[in-house]
Every structure is written in structure tokens, then in C-alpha cells.
């Protein structure tokens, strides 16, 4: 094809699709963003979350656990991920400070959405998790467009699933407990999680166990011992 005809074709595309964004640079790839959890990747379409698309994961029920592992998996793969903690529920004691994982704690919901858009448009992130700040209506359109421009997989933890290419829900099914000598539950050690994934004309589900992390309770003794320190007698 000669040079003038390429220019003509380009002008025609720009005229017909004014919102189209050309893929530039070598950093963008069509490869999916894998979660790093084999059982889950096997059931997700093409083995992961689609880049440049919005996926929605219903809150609670293990969403945070899986998505955090996904963030770390992305970083281990040499890319970057970001976690927007819109409702400031991330406990610092459980946050693993990874060099390619960025944690953003904005002050308000609007700030969270702005931060998400800024990071998505930068083109430097493969995965962005938006937690605690569910986009609505035109906000979703803007974020989806930013994700497409930046080539990042955007996952919103929420229930508003409009414009989402993939919808996921998860439930915690059964816990494995370490019992006390009296037979009471002392510590949950693992839990079986069920993930349901749906896209247009397609659905799948998977179950797998994950461990439960507990924090170190300082100044506490065994739960069965009566620790009366500091308590009124």
C-alpha cells in the first residue's frame, strides 16, 4: 500500500471512530493478566483478566485475598499493579510492600476515582484494583476508557456491573479449624472459596482452599486462659 493511501485510511478511521485510541509503544500487550492461582486461571477466559477492560468482583467472600495475590503475581512477572483503597480498610500489618505494587489511600471517593484514572492513563500499570469506591454511570465510562488507553486490566470491587466484560462473585464455603482441648474453635486455618465467573454467553466456577492469616495478638495468652490483666476485678 502506498503512503497516501495509508494516510487516507488513517483519516477515514479517525473520522469513523473518533474515540479510537491507537496502540503505541511496545509496552502494551494483549496477553491476559493471570491471577497466579492455577485453578482460577484455568477457568478464566484466556487464562486471566483482560487488559484494557473492566472486570467487576462482588465485594467480600475472598475477593481481596485473590486480587492481592494477583497484584503480587503481576509484580513478580516484572509489571506493576496498583491498589486504590477507597474506604481505607487495608490493614497495614497485612500489607506486603512489594516494589511494583502501589497502594493509594485517597481521602474521598472522588479522589479515589481520580487517582484510578490518573494511574490507568499513565500506561505503566498492568492491573489496577479499585476497592471501596464504586464508579457509577459516566464515571465507569471514563475509567473504562482510561483502562483501554493505558492497557491495564481494571478490576472494581463492587456490584455495579455495567460495562464489565467479566463479572465475578466469590463465597467462603467452609473453614478448617484448629480446635481447643474443649472442642471449641480456636483458630481458622484454611477456608474453601468458590469463585463464579460470568461473561456474555459464558460462565464457569471453581473451588479451592486458601489459608487464613491471623495477626499476632500481643499481650494475649491462649484463648482458653483467663487473662485478666487490665480488667476490673
Amino acid at each position: 500500500m502506498s503512503r497516501p493511501s495509508i494516510a487516507t485510511l488513517r483519516a477515514l478511521i479517525e473520522q469513523r471512530f473518533p474515540d479510537a485510541t491507537p496502540l503505541t509503544g511496545g509496552s502494551q500487550t494483549t496477553e491476559q493478566v493471570a491471577t497466579g492461582i492455577g485453578a482460577l486461571d484455568r477457568v478464566l477466559p484466556n487464562g486471566g483478566f483482560a487488559r484494557g477492560r473492566l472486570s467487576v468482583w462482588a465485594p467480600q467472600g475472598g475477593a481481596t485475598a485473590i486480587l492481592r495475590a494477583t497484584c503480587h503475581s503481576v509484580v513478580a512477572n516484572g509489571e506493576r499493579s496498583a491498589w486504590i483503597d477507597g474506604d481505607n480498610t487495608v490493614a497495614g500489618a497485612f500489607w506486603s510492600d512489594d516494589h511494583g505494587l502501589y497502594l493509594v489511600r485517597p481521602k474521598t471517593r472522588i479522589h479515589a476515582l481520580r487517582a484510578a484514572e490518573e494511574l490507568l492513563r499513565s500506561g505503566g500499570f498492568s492491573l489496577l484494583i479499585l476497592a471501596g469506591a464504586e464508579p457509577q454511570g459516566t464515571e465507569t465510562v471514563r475509567l473504562t476508557r482510561a483502562a483501554r488507553e493505558g492497557g491495564a486490566a481494571l478490576i472494581s470491587i463492587g456490584s455495579a456491573a455495567s460495562m464489565a466484560s467479566l463479572r465475578l462473585t466469590s463465597r467462603l464455603l467452609s473453614y478448617g479449624w484448629r480446635r481447643s482441648p474443649f472442642g471449641d474453635p480456636a483458630e481458622a486455618q484454611h477456608v474453601t472459596i468458590r469463585v463464579d465467573a460470568r461473561a456474555v454467553g459464558w460462565n464457569a466456577h471453581v473451588q479451592f482452599p486458601i489459608p487464613v492469616t491471623h495477626h499476632e495478638l500481643r499481650l494475649s495468652l491462649e484463648s482458653e486462659l483467663a487473662d485478666r490483666r487490665g480488667l476490673p476485678r
Binding site: A65, A76, T89, Y102, R171, S174, W177, D184, G230, P232
Partner: protein, 429 residues
């Protein structure tokens, strides 16, 4: 030591002073000034004054001025007296002893005018110490401004500028106008934008990024107002600095029309970036990410954070969120495995809880959150945490409870006298 004073009765002074001797002295002293009364000054700020004086004396000796004397002191007046009045070739005045050093010397070492010297002699003041002991107000009333200056020198309070300031090495740009005063912020921005363009271009050419710039307004009432603007990350981008200038202009009020503006860089950092890894798939996009993080930080403050955890017994008080430092190396988690972890509510939420007895304690069986009751199928605990008796005392009984829908929540009961309420503190997710 700050000043080295050389004096010789035999060398010429002023323009007749040998230029090659000055050049030789400059090999040792960063700045040299040839003064009046056969005095030559060397700048010893940041240097060892005694050693510098020895070097300078040696150079003077090489040029045939064997009779040169040197004085080293924190103030010019003490250095001058040490050089000109002492019988030894080198005198170093002890740190902080300048006033005591010159106190016994007669007043003429301070070179007063003939009228003032006669007046002081008439008053019976003969030494520097005697003058220094007088009250400032008495000097001002009786001897006027010249007397006050002499009195200050007698107290070794000498702030003479012997050396010119070094030329400013950081980029700056300024513009002034005299025919009108500018009050319109938009026109002011237009002017500053032009200055910022010049300054940022200069920064880029030098391979530097500015951390701080000062915006100096010359006002119609012949005063100046200076506003320092800081960027969260060093930058040489005109767009970024203009955004910060615009934000600064939104918050300041100037008392008069602006007759001139100066934009000068206050501090810079090098343009070098962190060492990259060519096999890092994010390497190519690192500058874009850095820019995005800078933009976020400028807009929203330090929202890109990292936790700094302590060992505080209360989980919500363990973490301090600090701005994420870009150059801190962090380990990469190579084999990430998912795990349910605790999510904390920003502050514990009061809930209504029904309990039942289990041996010697009560365990929750259901709780009301909002308008919804949640049945609890398993409850582990209590985990008792107490402390803070010397500040704000706390005592809590924590329970890890699994709801009927599978969610594990973290409930606690306050066990202090002030509250026995139940709280929802977080959940595992």
C-alpha cells in the same frame, strides 16, 4: 574560623598591590580581598583558619614580604587587631573570644574618626573594652550613628561584607516594568509562564530538576514579597511548575500592584534516575508511572503510601502510613499465594450482639449491623488485649466469628468501666 587578615607595613595597598601575589594567595584561599590600610583578607569560612593563615604567610614570604603578620578570628575586627597589633607573626583568636581579645587594646585600633576619638578621650574612654561595656542607648544619644558603629566593633559585633557573594549558579529569570502596576492574576500568570519557560529550559539544559522555586514579587509600594513553591518530586517541567504557581497564586494576597516578578530556582537535584532493569517489563513505562505518581501527590497529597508497622497491641494503632519513597528497594514476593487477611474498619463500629454462655465466658451468637441480624455459626475467642494504663487504658475481648454466609468477622467487647459495648472491628477477606 572565618577570616584571615594579613598585614605588612611594607607592601603597597589598593591598586598597587601585586596582582601575582593575589593570584598565588588564591591558590590557597577561595576568596581574597585587598583592603585599605595594608590589609589583605582571606575567606576561611569552612576551612581551617590557622592552616590557611600559615599558607598565606608562606606565600607572602616567598614574594619578599617577610614582615607580614596574620590574624585569624571569627570576626573581621578581631582578625584585623590580631594581625596589626600583635608582635608574633600569627595569632589565632580562640573561638568565641573575639570580644575579650580586643577589649584591652586602645580605641585607635578600631580606626575611629578624629572627632569621635577626641570625644571619647574627653569622656575618659580609652580601650575597646571600656567602650563595649557602655549602654547602647547612651552611645546612641551622645555619639550618634558613628558612635554606635564604633561601639559595635568594640563588642566584636562586626558584620562587614568583605567578600562579594558568589554569582548565583542556579537558574532564574525576572522581568520588571515601571509604567503600570499589574493586578490581574491572569496577566500575572502569563508573565510567570514566560519566566517558567526560561527557567525550566535552563534546568533541562543543565540536566537538573528543581525541588524548590521562589517567586519574588516587586510591589508598587517598593517592597518585595517572596513565596517559596515546592514540588513533591523534583521536576524540570514547565507545566508542573505552572500548576503549582497557579495554586500558590490562588492562596496569596498582595498588598499592592506588581511591578516586577522574579522566578528563581532555590534547590535542585540531579537528573539521574534509579537504575533500571532491561528485563523488567515495566522498565519502559517507569517515567510515565513516576509522572503519574507525582501528579497524584501534587493533587491529593501523600496518598501513595507504604505502611510502617510497630508492635502496638492494638492493631489499628500499629500502622503509620508514610509517603512511598521511590528509591527504597522493596523485596518482590516471588510465589504469591492468596490468603484471607483482616480488613479493618476505619474506626470500630458499635453493634448489638446477643451472646450465650460458654463455660466461664460469653460468646456472641448473632449481631445486628444496621438493620440486619447476622447469625454466628462459629466463634473463636476471647482473645484478650489490655494495656495503656499510663495513657489511655484499654481492655478488649476479641472474637473471630464466622457468619452463616461464610464471612469471618472480628468483634470485640470493651471491658473497661467506661464502655461494655460490642464493636465490629473488621472482617477477613
Amino acid at each position: 574560623m572565618s577570616y584571615v587578615c594579613l598585614w605588612s607595613p611594607s607592601w603597597p595597598t589598593g591598586a598597587d598591590f601585586p596582582a601575582d601575589l593575589v593570584a598565588s594567595l588564591l591558590l590557597h584561599a577561595p576568596r581574597v580581598a585587598v583592603g585599605e590600610r595594608r590589609l589583605v583578607w582571606g575567606d576561611a569560612r569552612g576551612l581551617h583558619g590557622g592552616q590557611l593563615a600559615e599558607h598565606m604567610l608562606r606565600v607572602a614570604g616567598d614574594y619578599g614580604f617577610e614582615d607580614a603578620h596574620a590574624g585569624v578570628a571569627m570576626t573581621p575586627v578581631a582578625a584585623e587587631v590580631a594581625a596589626t597589633q600583635s608582635t608574633t607573626q600569627l595569632v589565632v583568636v580562640k573561638l568565641g573570644q573575639d570580644r575579650q581579645f580586643i577589649a584591652p587594646y586602645p580605641l585607635h585600633v578600631l580606626s575611629p574618626s578624629d572627632e569621635l576619638a577626641a570625644l571619647l578621650t574627653g569622656l575618659g574612654i580609652e580601650t575597646c573594652g571600656a567602650l563595649a561595656n557602655l549602654d547602647a542607648e547612651a552611645i546612641e544619644v551622645r555619639l550618634g550613628l558613628e558612635g554606635v558603629r564604633l561601639w559595635q566593633r568594640a563588642r566584636a559585633d562586626d558584620e562587614r561584607w568583605l567578600f562579594k557573594l558568589p554569582l548565583r549558579s542556579l537558574p532564574s529569570a525576572s522581568v520588571e516594568w515601571v509604567e503600570y502596576g499589574l493586578k490581574d492574576p491572569e496577566r500575572l500568570l502569563f508573565v510567570i509562564n514566560s519566566l517558567a519557560g526560561t527557567v525550566c529550559t535552563s534546568l533541562i539544559e543543565r540536566g537538573e530538576r528543581a525541588r524548590e522555586m521562589a517567586l519574588v514579587f516587586s510591589l508598587g509600594n517598593r517592597t518585595q514579597r517572596t513565596h517559596v513553591i515546592r514540588s513533591s518530586r523534583p521536576s524540570a517541567e514547565q507545566k508542573r511548575w505552572m500548576r503549582l504557581v497557579r495554586e500558590a497564586l490562588d492562596t496569596i494576597t498582595l498588598p499592592d500592584a506588581v511591578m516586577g516578578v522574579t522566578l528563581r530556582v532555590e534547590s535542585v537535584t540531579g537528573n539521574g534516575g534509579a537504575q533500571g532493569d532491561l528485563f523488567d517489563r515495566g522498565f519502559a513505562s517507569a517515567p510515565a508511572v513516576e509522572d503519574a505518581v507525582i501528579q497524584l501527590t501534587d493533587d491529593q497529597g501523600d496518598v501513595v503510601v507504604s505502611p510502617e508497622n510497630s508492635a502496638h497491641p492494638l492493631l489499628e494503632q500499629r500502622t503509620k502510613w508514610m509517603a512511598r519513597a521511590s528509591r527504597v528497594s522493596r523485596p518482590t514476593i516471588r510465589d504469591p499465594q492468596p490468603a484471607l487477611t483482616l480488613q479493618l474498619l476505619p474506626s470500630p463500629k458499635v453493634v448489638t450482639v446477643d451472646t450465650e454462655s460458654r463455660r466461664d465466658h460469653e460468646v456472641p451468637v448473632r449481631y445486628l449491623d444496621g438493620n440486619e441480624w447476622h447469625d454466628i455459626v462459629e466463634a473463636a475467642g476471647p482473645d484478650r488485649v489490655s494495656g495503656g494504663q499510663w495513657s489511655s487504658a484499654y481492655a478488649r475481648e476479641y472474637f473471630r466469628c464466622v457468619r452463616e454466609d461464610g464471612m469471618m468477622v472480628w468483634l470485640f467487647r470493651g471491658s473497661q468501666q467506661q464502655t461494655k459495648d460490642w464493636f465490629l472491628h473488621g472482617w477477613w477477606d
